[in-house]
Amino acid sequence: MANRKIHVKVNGTPMEAEVEPRLLLVHCIRDTFQLTGTHIGCDTSHCGACTVLLDGKPIKSCTFFAIQADGRSITTVEGLEQNGTLHPVQEGFCQEHGLQCGFCTPGMMLTAAAFLKENPKPTEQSIRRAISGNLCRCTGYVNIVKAIQYAAAKLAAGG
């Protein structure tokens, strides 16, 4: 099949690319746009290392074609920090030791950021459910939950 041109907004910046229809969004982000903060951990949408936000909603970019993103907005981990200030979720992960090897962290933080937007006063159980599509092998999740609680408190206090 012929290549197709797509237009997307990545972290607020308009970008375009000629892509094969079969190109996965995660490879488009990593190889074409060269934003390597989005990772690949499983190819079957179980681990969530490839999570990005599509029009604000978390998706697993390893099982999503780049052409499906045509005309839409993508947020990757590189877009969380605004004007030199870390997103409260990023700050929470640093403060609460919510990461170790760092490989699942970008996807985990994007899931958390989208979740907190919809659920500003989350319970521990609702946080755990929200991140259950993102696997972490290092931390045992305790401090990830604390990191998201930290971010929730910070956002509630006005960011």
Partner: protein, 788 residues
Amino acid sequence: MAPRTSPEVGGMGHSIKRKEDPRFVRGQGTYVDDIRLPGMIYLDIVRSPFAHATIKKINPSKALSIPGVLAVITGQDLAKYNLHWMPTLMSDTQMVLPVDKVMFQSQEVAAVLATDRYIAADGVEAVEVEYDPLPVVVDPKKALEPGAPILRTDKKDKKDNHIFHWEVGDKSATEKAFAAAKTTIRQDIYIPRIHVASIETPGCVAQFDKVTGKLTVWLTTQAPHAIRTVVALVAGHVGLSEEKIRIIAPDIGGGFGGKVPVYPGYVIAIAASVLTGKPVKWVEDRMENLQADSFARDYHITAELAAEKDGTLTALRIKTIADHGYTDAAANPSKFPAGLFGICTGSYNLKAAHVQVDGAYTNKPPGGIAYRCSFRVTEAAYAIERMVDIMAHELNMDPADFRRKNFIPADSFPYKSALGWEYDSGNYDAALTKAMEKIGYAGLRKEQAEKRTRGELMGIGISSFTEIVGAGPSKHFDILGLKMFDSCEIRVHPTGKAIARFGTKSQGQGHETTYAQIVAEELGIPASHVLVEEGDTDTAPYGLGTYASRSTPTAGAAGAMAARKIRDKARKIAAHLLEAREDDLEWEPGKFFVRGNPGNAKTIQEIALAAYTNHPQGTEAGLEAVSYYDPPNLTFPFGSYICVVDLDKGTGEVKIRRFVAVDDCGNIINPMIVEGQIHGGLTMGMAPALYEEINYDEEGNIQGGSFMDYLLPTAVETPNWETDKTCTPSPHHPLGAKGVGESATVGAPAAIVNAVVDALWHLGVRHIDIPITPAKVWKCLRDHGVSE
């Protein structure tokens, strides 16, 4: 231990925030798959659908006709350079690519090079391979029976599938103890094959420069220096010379033992780069990872334990069949084919023990690597903790009282175990007591008794494990002859800042932070002013790498020793600056002062400047040191874990209600990081206890080769771990530290299984093999007349 340094300096005992995190939370880490080089090509691998088969023909022509496919590499191609086989870390041999037959499902058969990773995958699909299936051996016990098909036909004199026999302990004393014992128990325990499944899969980028002859490999490795030497030894005959080989382990997305071995994909990528002169990237996908990478465990254990009438344990006897797949590619020290399984007398004062392990070849991927544990220590801790628990129940004694009765007493350290280890320090009763208090043990037993009268199933499980880590003293420990020391080089700059390089490699443990804290502790230079580097063999001092909880016991110790060498030189410079005798100077973190006159002092920063601007005549300028630390002994961290489970009679689900972990890893460098290590370790202990298993059907087909079937715990199943600590320093480690990365993985499985069996013991259940899935519990309840 109260910190000796201020929070600003951030030495030992301070929970300073990690230096790694600012880049990771911004997505600015550099993992292997993030490396992109000009002209880079991609490698993908054709894998066998059969577990055992002769390769009749490999036809690459269709693949080669695809635009963008550059080459198809087979075993025959590598055989021209004698690179089709490679040595394993246990001095066995492993195929890089086969020339005549495959030995497990998903084994590498051929490799495709292409301009793009998608085209490489197209090429893999298009390579045609004709196989002739051979009889498959899946069960290691059957593999050792006479008449079993011989798997390693490549070994001329090999007439069976037996790899090694290893034994330790006093056999006749053990037999006597068993003959004299009032109570003996015997239990078959299977510890299934599991996979570390780090979220980042292994991979590499190999770049060979045809002009300079320099090979640079970005590699997902826990042991970059050892890999460099192995590459030089294996490929020296094709012109790769060790001074021109540079291994770079960049950021690593979790290791847990799975990134110690050399995988065939690495070797093929290196060979492909040497042949083409182009940079070659190979990153395996998750299914390749779960189906073909080295595995852990797979121990078929038969354990026996003997006790006197009053419950005093006397002897332990263990026989084990170890399934190593088609090659012994375990990552063990070379003199220890069963790793440190000899720690299986655990925390108990046993007078006699005898252990034997026999390794077997089967048609499975190679293995015997760790799963976040030091060389088979989990197997050992699980076996003894299960047996002690069964014995306590058998004797109708409380499992906590029973353990206390049999612990090695706190006043008998250093303690020589029946299997020959000298435990450095321990206080097992203190850890268990603390765990019992924290969880409210007595109250839980009362609740359990009440619930039982109502037919509710609740269990309490204890695990009072002892670890053995920090390999190790060079007289016993080596890998392929390379002694298992580790190293540190520190350079203090004129402005009082420092760079410290180590022979290990963090995969998430936070070395950039904790190693800086060691330097801060010893020199008083703030940890924020100490840059830590690891993983580049062109710059870091030689070391054996990070696994088996050895970084703090070996490289951490080297850091302290190198810093102390610098302090010795700093004393000379300070004496020169202060016009005092060296003997009259006293040290406190960060400065030397004249005894009795604290105001007459020179800070380490002033001394550093003088080392380059005003050094005493007759001494060398500069302020740097290297230490290669050869530990005098291993370290023996320990802990007591208590787990409370509730069983759902309808579904068989095991619900962990509470889990208290009291760990003792000696003196602590960064409490925040230690706690994080324990959280993660507990989760990786729970995983095989309840969820993870890789098994095979009779044809050798893998039954769980993706995350669809291989269940990693999510945040929903994982409980809110409750941690605490006791502190019994190691007497021989320069910082009194012991290592902690794996304790929880070692200790947790037995606590969970003991809790489940405790909930079911009154029904006549004595043991359930892991993973304890809902289906297993449900079937058990049905068999015992509880569920319909």
